[in-house]
C-alpha cells in the first residue's frame, strides 16, 4: 500500500503464508538461514497472496486475551449506529430500513457529479409597482457543477421537508409523462408481489380446504348434509371448483412490463431524440446506479437528486474470543473521535523501522513535504551489487524489557535475490516508561561515576563517520529502542549474459515482472519477556491456575512472534 520507501508492513498470523517460526537463532555473526526448516516456511513478500496478509501498523489491532495480532481479516465488525455524513444526525436502526439506507432530511447529492446539493433561495425580481411580498421559491443547487433542480423543473415552496416536496413532484411527473415511461420500478414491484400473493391463495394450497369451515372433513360434511337432506355427496363433488394452476402476470396492473413490436410511434419519437443527443447528455453507469430512482434514466435530464447514503460506525471484535478490540464513542457530534475501547497492535508489539545508515534523522517523509520541490524528489534507486548498510530500529512499547531475536533468509525469496545480513540478530530492548523514568534514572547514573565517560563518548559519538558497524554489536540504544545494522546487497534485475544462448522458456523466466524490482526483506521477529504474575492480566482472564514457573517469585514468560516485511527501495539498472 505504501508507495514511499522505507516502509514496514506486518503480517498477521492468520494467513497460511506465515507458518511456524524458525528455531531461535544463536548469537552468531551471520543470521542463521532457515536451511533446516523447509523453504516454504519463510514469508515470501512477492507471493501473489502476500498482500492479503500484510498490513501497515495503523490498521492492526491486538487482542489482549489471545495475545495475538488481529488484522482486518481476523476481527469481526458490528454496526453500532448509522449516521448521515452531511447532517451528522444519528438515524435509529428502525428508520434505516424504511428509508432505504438514506437520509430522510434535506441532504441530497447532485446526480451528475455527486457533490452536495444546497437549498438556495431563488433571486426574486421585483416588478415595478408590486405591493405583494414576493414568494420565496427554493431550488437545490450544486455548487460544483452548476446543476440545479431547475434542470428537471422542480422548485420548492419552503426550504424544509424537501423529501416530501420531491416525492410530490415525482408523482406529478410520473402521472403526466405516463405514455413514454413505463411503470415505475417501485410500483411494478408492488403490483407483482400483490399478484403473486393472490395467485398463491387462489391456486389452492390443498392443505386443508375445509380448515375454515365448521365441518372439519368432507365426510363430516357429507354426513350432516345427508341428515338434513340436500345435495348428495356426488353432486357436491362436482360443484367443487378445480383449483386453477398458478399463472404468470399479464399486463401492467399485475406488474408485467410488455413491449410490443408494433409500437412504432413511440419508438420513432425516441429514435429521433437520440439522433440529436451528444455523448455528455447520456448517463453513465455510475450515475444510474446512484439511486433506485435513477436506474432507468437514460438521459442526464431524467436524473433525480440522490438522497445521501448513510454511513456506519462499527465496532470490532476478535473472532476467537468475543473481546472488543475497538469501540468508538457512539456520539457522532462529539468533537473528538473518541474510543471507549481501543487496543492497538502498536502498543503491544515491538515496532521495526529501517533507514539508511548515512541518512540524517529525521527522514524526509513525502506526505509531509513542506515545499513544492520536495514533492518532485524521487527517491534514488538502489544500485545492484553494491553493499548498503541500513539501521534497523526496534521500539518497545510495553513496560518490560524484552529480548528480541530477528531472523531473515540470507537471500530474499524472490526472483531478484538480494543478500541480507543482520549483524546482531539477538538483543534486548529497554522498557517504555514515562519520560520521568528516564530523567530520574539518568540522573542517578551520572552520579554513579560512570557518567563522565558516558558524557564524553556521547559528545564524540555525534560524528558517526568514524563508527564502523561491527558484527554482534548493537549500533545504538536508547531508552526504549535499539538499533542494529543490516547489510543488504541488492541483486540485479537482469541476469548476466551467458555464452550459451538461452531457450525461450529461460528468457521468459527472466523477464522482470511488475513489483520485482522492489526490494523487500522479510524479517521474523520474536520477542520474549517476563511478566510478574500480578500483572498477568491475560492469564487471570483465562482463569488459569497460578503455576510457579522457574520457581522465581512467580514470573510468567511470555513471547510474541510475527513476520514483517521491510520495504527498502527500488532496484535500478546496474
Amino acid at each position: 500500500m505504501a508507495a514511499t520507501f522505507p516502509y514496514t508492513h506486518y503480517a498477521c498470523s492468520c494467513s497460511d503464508l506465515t507458518t511456524s517460526a524458525p528455531p531461535s537463532v544463536s548469537a552468531k555473526r551471520a543470521s542463521l538461514a532457515p536451511g533446516d526448516t523447509p523453504e516454504d516456511s519463510t514469508f515470501n513478500p512477492h507471493d501473489p497472496r502476500a498482500n492479503y496478509a500484510l498490513s501497515p501498523l495503523d490498521r492492526l489491532l491486538f487482542c489482549d486475551e489471545c495475545e495475538e495480532i488481529r488484522c482486518q481479516r481476523c476481527y469481526g465488525e458490528e454496526i453500532i449506529h448509522w449516521y448521515c455524513p452531511t447532517c451528522l444526525f444519528e438515524v435509529p436502526s428502525s428508520a434505516v430500513r424504511s428509508d432505504g439506507n438514506r437520509c430522510s432530511r434535506n441532504c441530497y447529492n447532485c446526480p451528475v457529479c455527486t457533490a452536495g446539493l444546497a437549498v438556495t433561495a431563488m433571486p426574486q425580481h421585483h416588478f415595478g409597482g408590486e405591493n405583494d411580498p414576493p414568494e420565496d421559491t427554493y431550488i437545490l443547487q450544486c455548487h460544483y457543477c452548476d446543476w440545479s433542480s431547475l434542470d428537471i423543473g422542480v422548485q420548492f415552496n419552503k426550504p424544509t421537508k424537501i423529501t416530501e416536496q420531491l416525492a410530490k413532484h415525482r408523482k406529478h411527473k410520473a402521472a403526466s409523462g405516463k405514455s413514454l415511461q413505463h411503470l415505475d420500478h417501485d410500483e411494478a414491484f408492488a403490483n407483482l408481489t400483490a399478484f403473486y400473493k393472490e395467485q398463491l391463495s387462489e391456486s389452492g394450497d390443498l392443505q386443508n380446504p375445509y380448515s375454515n369451515s365448521p365441518y372439519s372433513s368432507p365426510s363430516n360434511l357429507a354426513r350432516i348434509m345427508s341428515l338434513y337432506g340436500g345435495l348428495s355427496v356426488d353432486a357436491l363433488k362436482k360443484t367443487r371448483e378445480k383449483p386453477q394452476p398458478m399463472r404468470e402476470a399479464r399486463g401492467e396492473k399485475e406488474g408485467a412490463l410488455t413491449y410490443s413490436v408494433n409500437n412504432e410511434v413511440a419508438d420513432d419519437a425516441v429514435m429521433k431524440s437520440v439522433q440529436n443527443l451528444s455523448w455528455d447528455e447520456t448517463t453513465t453507469a455510475h450515475q444510474r446506479l446512484s439511486s433506485p430512482l435513477n436506474n432507468d434514466a437514460k438521459l442526464v435530464h431524467d436524473l433525480w437528486p440522490v438522497a445521501t447514503a448513510l454511513r456506519t460506525r462499527k465496532c470490532r471484535r476478535c473472532r476467537s474470543c468475543p473481546q472488543y478490540l475497538s469501540y468508538p464513542d457512539p456520539k457522532v457530534k462529539v468533537n473528538n473521535l473518541r474510543y471507549k475501547i481501543r487496543v492497538l497492535a502498536l502498543n503491544h508489539i515491538p515496532r521495526l523501522a529501517i533507514r539508511s545508515l548515512q541518512a540524517t534523522l529525521p527522514l524526509p517523509n513525502p506526505s509531509f513535504a513542506l515545499r513544492a520541490e520536495d514533492l518532485q524528489q524521487q527517491q534514488p534507486d538502489l544500485r545492484p551489487h553494491i553493499t548498503q548498510q541500513y539501521v534497523l530500529t526496534i521500539r518497545n512499547p510495553i513496560l518490560e524489557p524484552i529480548k528480541v531475536t530477528l531472523a531473515t533468509p540470507s537471500t530474499t525469496p524472490c526472483r531478484v535475490a538480494s543478500r541480507v545480513t543482520i549483524l546482531c540478530p539477538s538483543f534486548t530492548v529497554g522498557p517504555a516508561g514515562d519520560v520521568w523514568d528516564e530523567a530520574l534514572s539518568s540522573s542517578t547514573n551520572s552520579m554513579a561515576g560512570g557518567g563522565r565517560q558516558a558524557a564524553l563518548s556521547s559528545l564524540t559519538a555525534g560524528e558517526s563517520l568514524d563508527r564502523q558497524p561491527e558484527a554482534g554489536k548493537i549500533w545504538e540504544r536508547t531508552r526504549n529502542s535499539t538499533s542494529v545494522v543490516i547489510e543488504i546487497v541488492p541483486g540485479s534485475l537482469s541476469s548476466p549474459p551467458s555464452i550459451v544462448p538461452k531457450t525461450q522458456a529461460e528468457l521468459e523466466a527472466e523477464e522482470v515482472d511488475e513489483g520485482d524490482e522492489v526490494l523487500e526483506v522479510p524479517v521474523h521477529v520474536r520477542a520474549e519477556w517476563e511478566v510478574s504474575e500480578d500483572h498477568d492480566d491475560a492469564a487471570a482472564k483465562k482463569g488459569m491456575l497460578k503455576v510457579n514457573i522457574d520457581g522465581e517469585g512467580g514470573k510468567v514468560k511470555k513471547e510474541c512472534a510475527y513476520w514483517c516485511v521491510l520495504g527498502v527501495g527500488r532496484i535500478g539498472e546496474g
Partner: protein, 205 residues
Amino acid sequence: MSRPAPVTRRSAKTEYIETDTGNKISRRARIEGKQNIMLAGKSVVMAGATLRGDLHRKSDKPAEGEKGGSVTAISVGKASIISTDCTIRPPMRLSRGQMTFYPMRIGDNVFIGTGTHVSALSISSHVHIGAGCVLSPFCVIKESCKILPGTVVPSHMIIPPGSIVAGRPARVIGEVGEGWGQGGGGEGEEYVEGGDLRPLVRSIK
C-alpha cells in the same frame, strides 16, 4: 497575536520570526490583517503562505463610548503547520446584496500541504491535508480526516470524522485506521500523519 521575541542585531536575518508562544512565522509569508489572526502556539506559517486576516466580519456597532472589539478572522490551533504557498482565506457569502465573511477555525495538529487553497469554515484537529488541494468556501472538515493530495472539496461539504477523502469533487473513499495519529513523534521516530506535529515544528528552521 503575541509579541515577537526581541530581535538581536545579527548580520543575517533568520527565516522565521519566533514568538514567545513558540509560533514560527516566515518573513516571506504574506499576512494581511495580522491583528485578526490568532495562532495558538507552536504553529508554523511557512514562506509564501498568504493569510487574509483582513477579510473579516465588520464588527457590530459598539455601544456608546466603548471601543469595538477586534474580530478574529482566522484562528489556528496548536502545532499546526501551514506549508509553503498556501492561501488561507476566510469564506464569504453574498446574501441580500451584502458580502459577509465568516471566521475560519483551524484546529490543533493540522498539517496543510504545500500550495493548497483553504477557504473552509472549520478544520478540526488531527487532520492531514495533502499538497495542491482546494477546500472551497464553507466546507467543514471534522477531526482525524485525511485529504489526499489534489482533492477539490466542493463548497458546503461536510466531511465526517475519520474519513479519507479524495477526488474532484471530493468523495469519502475510506476510513482512517484505528492507529491514526498514534505511535509517532518520539525521539528519532518518523512523523505520523495525524499525530503530534510538535517534533516537525521544532525541526523547521
